[in-house]
């Protein structure tokens, strides 16, 4: 069987999601936004820090969502891109004294390049094979970061300590709060850009590839280009998230970016709903808070409790947060009719 036939017979990796169902309505978006702006004003610094991490992981999940939900390619290697972004920001800040805000676009561009290049060989692979190839990348990354060759820059096993930025212009808010709002602005920017990307010509090309590669190429879509482009965009956004993560945590070390992180992000995407961008934040909340809840229930069996909770979610709402949102919408619709 030739590769083409194989591709043609293969069931689509990801269920098709209609374009309009990928985002939230204006009203709901505004409510969520208002909550994200107002709530942190009344929280302790520690919770603000947790919310910052929530936004950062949401960005990383969003990036994976564009890749998998948008173009139908799997990746278990997002932790590698996250690590590259984090180290780029940390090295630029600590060794070269670059302003933290300026390190983010650099991290994004470097990761875009890295993802785009990785996307080239990945073109030959699809489905689970691609997942395995990216898995290899995630496993290799922490060891690469420990290499003596880079040690002068990366700090080896010890990692690098990053200085947390103060609020600019002498604003009377704490570092954590400032960093939260900074992250929020970056996240909203990336979210809007992503929504628009998927609504654009390129986005339609992504989805055409996802739904049927051969049909897409018959329609004149440059399959190779758009597949690698999806990888690049996804890696770039993950890199920005990694950079933000390094600034928020104030520390980068190889042990922070293992395969566990990649799997967490994958988990976040599934729980949030594959292909539904607003679900990213729900998925991110799941991977941050549910382990804490599990630990609270039983310290010795926290892993098992987490497993049970995850199982329940997958069993009851297989489409994740998107399914919950759709059910809620239908119920609201019924209420309006009555």
């Amino acid at each position: 069987m030739s590769a083409v036939e194989e591709a043609a017979n293969e069931a689509p990796a990801v269920e098709a999601v209609p374009k309009r169902a990928m985002t939230l309505g204006y009203g709901t978006s505004l409510v969520v936004l208002a909550l994200l702006i107002i709530v942190p004003m009344f929280l302790k610094n520690f919770f603000v820090f947790q919310l910052t991490m929530l936004l950062i992981y949401a960005l990383a999940v969003l990036a994976l969502n564009i890749l998998t939900g948008g173009s139908g390619q799997f990746s278990l290697g997002q932790s590698a891109f996250y690590a590259v972004g984090a180290y780029t920001s940390a090295i630029l800040m600590e060794h070269m004294g670059v302003n933290y805000a300026l390190t983010l676009p650099v991290a994004g561009i470097i990761c875009f390049g890295f993802g785009f290049l990785f996307g080239q060989p990945a073109l030959r692979l699809s489905g689970i094979y691609l997942a395995l190839a990216t898995f290899a990348l995630a496993v290799a990354m922490p060891q690469l970061l420990k290499l003596g060759f880079f040690e002068h820059w990366t700090g080896g096993v010890q990692g690098l300590v990053v200085t947390k930025p103060d609020a600019p212009f002498g604003l009377p808010i704490s570092q954590d709060r400032w960093l939260y709002y900074f992250t929020l602005v970056v996240s909203i920017g990336i979210y809007i850009a992503s929504v628009n990307l998927l609504k654009s010509r390129s986005g339609r090309a992504f989805m055409a590839i996802r739904d049927n590669e051969i049909a897409a190429s018959a329609m004149g879509v440059d399959v190779a280009l758009y597949k690698t482009l999806a990888f690049g965009v996804s890696a770039g956004i993950t890199g920005v998230a990694g950079g933000l993560g390094a600034i928020a945590v104030q520390f980068v070390a190889p042990d922070g970016y293992t395969i566990t992180l990649a799997i967490s992000l994958f988990l976040g995407m599934v729980v949030g709903g594959v292909g539904w961008l607003p679900g990213s934040i729900v998925g991110s909340a799941f991977i941050i808070f549910v382990p804490n809840i599990a630990e609270h229930i039983s310290k010795g069996l926290s892993g098992a409790v987490f497993g049970v909770l995850l199982f329940l979610v997958i069993f009851l709402v297989p489409h994740g947060a998107r399914q919950v949102a759709m059910v809620a919408q239908q119920m609201l619709g019924k209420l309006k009719k009555n």
Partner: protein, 408 residues
């Protein structure tokens, strides 16, 4: 009663009152995390993930503080021991440390485990002026009171250990030809530095070969062959358990019989010596500072008897051959001592001050003669160890207690 007498009584009563209130004010001082009835102790430990074998340390500590509470607490205050899982992942450690300090409001962060996780929170805790007390890692950098006055180690650090080996070589084999094998990371380099510092000016002439290996290498056989070929008659083996077993086995295969020093990291009989073969490990020298619970010598020892009684009552499911259980017990006792001597002045500053003024403290789990000493300039509580030689199927202690003090 005359007016004068009344006045006298009144003034006497007032006087008494002032004396007693000023006494109270001078006595009791608290920071967040301590009250009249409770002291909150925070802890971070990898209960899950690759390093989860260490989780038993915090479980022992938790059991020990239950014992302290059952016996009336410390100066009447109960210990509230809050321990979180970080899975040995530095970003998670930062989150948990912040939770302990800002949300649970613990007085100190006690015995967090691992070099990368502790590095991740060191700056934060020092900025917040929260004690990062008795960290569970052997890196030498925790002994740096000048730059990090809120961070203190506990166990003998790596450099102290190899300094002790170096002293032994200088004394007993002054014309040695030394071959060193070390793991190429911070742990290996830390040990290597201590050894060279210990040899001092003679390091250059005595060391004939320094070989390093990467953790990713499947086997270190070729390095051993090279070391043997160098003609070395002293072998300093700075390797983690898996590689240590390989090295011991390969030595025997090659028939190379140098004076063999094995770092204490790989001193475990169960995971290193036994797989390598008892007959291959005879005469290897290492060092210890805690009593080995599996050693029959301590059967009637008062300190280990108390340890066994404690386990019977508060932690019956513990594995009694596990050295980590002795570790957790002893480090918890050290904290108990520090909190006791802090009295009613439970400020973070005073706790740190008390931790830095331990004088010849001896505890049941430590080898006889090993004493805990700290000062304002010495943040390495345990710096004494005893050499041990492998004979038959156990380590035998020999010689006197040796000390090496290395700063970060």
């Amino acid at each position: 009663m005359s007016a004068i007498k009344k006045l006298a009584v009144l003034s006497a009563a007032l006087g008494l009152l002032t004396v007693s209130t000023s006494g109270v004010l001078a006595q009791k001082k608290y920071d967040t995390g301590a009250t009249d009835t409770e002291i909150k102790i925070g802890n971070i430990m990898p209960y899950s993930g690759p390093a989860s074998a260490y989780g038993v340390i915090a479980k022992t500590e938790e059991a020990y503080f239950r014992k302290v509470n059952a016996e009336g607490g410390i100066n009447g205050r109960k210990i509230n021991f809050i321990s979180y899982d970080d899975a040995y992942s530095p970003p998670k450690t930062v989150e948990q440390a912040r939770k302990l300090v800002e949300s649970d409001e613990a007085l100190v962060v006690f015995n967090p485990l691992g070099t990368p996780p502790n590095t991740a929170i060191q700056k934060y805790l020092n900025t917040k002026k929260v004690p990062q007390l008795f960290v569970a890692t052997g890196a030498t950098k925790w002994n740096d009171p000048k730059n990090f006055p809120w961070t203190m180690g506990w166990q003998p650090n790596y450099q102290s250990e190899t300094q002790i080996y170096a002293k032994y070589v200088l004394k007993n084999k002054p014309d040695a030809k030394i071959g060193i094998l070390y793991q190429n990371d911070d742990y290996g380099k830390d040990y290597l530095k201590g050894f060279k510092d210990g040899l001092g000016a003679k390091a250059a002439s005595l060391i004939v070969l320094e070989e390093s290996y990467e953790v990713s290498e499947p086997t270190i056989d070729s390095h051993i062959v090279k070391l043997k070929a160098s003609g070395a008659d002293v072998f300093v083996n700075i390797t983690t358990p898996k590689f240590a077993a390989q090295a011991i086995k390969k030595n025997a295969e090659l028939g190379w019989k140098p004076l063999h020093f094995l770092n204490s990291v790989s001193g475990s009989i169960g995971s290193v010596i036994k797989p390598a073969g008892f007959e291959n490990a005879q005469e290897i020298i290492s060092s210890q500072y805690l009593k080995d619970p599996a050693d029959a010598e301590w059967k009637n020892d008062a300190g280990m008897k108390a340890w066994n009684e404690f386990l019977d009552k508060y932690y019956p499911e513990a594995n009694r051959a596990d050295a980590f259980v002795v570790y957790g017990y002893t480090v918890a006792q050290t904290l108990e001592h520090v909190l006791k001597s802090s009295g009613d002045n439970l400020t973070r500053e005073n706790v740190m001050k008390q931790a830095a003024s331990l004088k010849d403290l001896e505890l049941g789990g430590l080898l006889p003669g090993v004493k805990i000493n700290t000062s304002a300039t010495d943040f390495a509580p345990i710096s004494q160890m005893q050499l041990v030689k492998f004979k038959g199927e156990t380590w035998e202690r020999f010689g006197e207690i040796l000390s090496g003090d290395a700063g970060g």
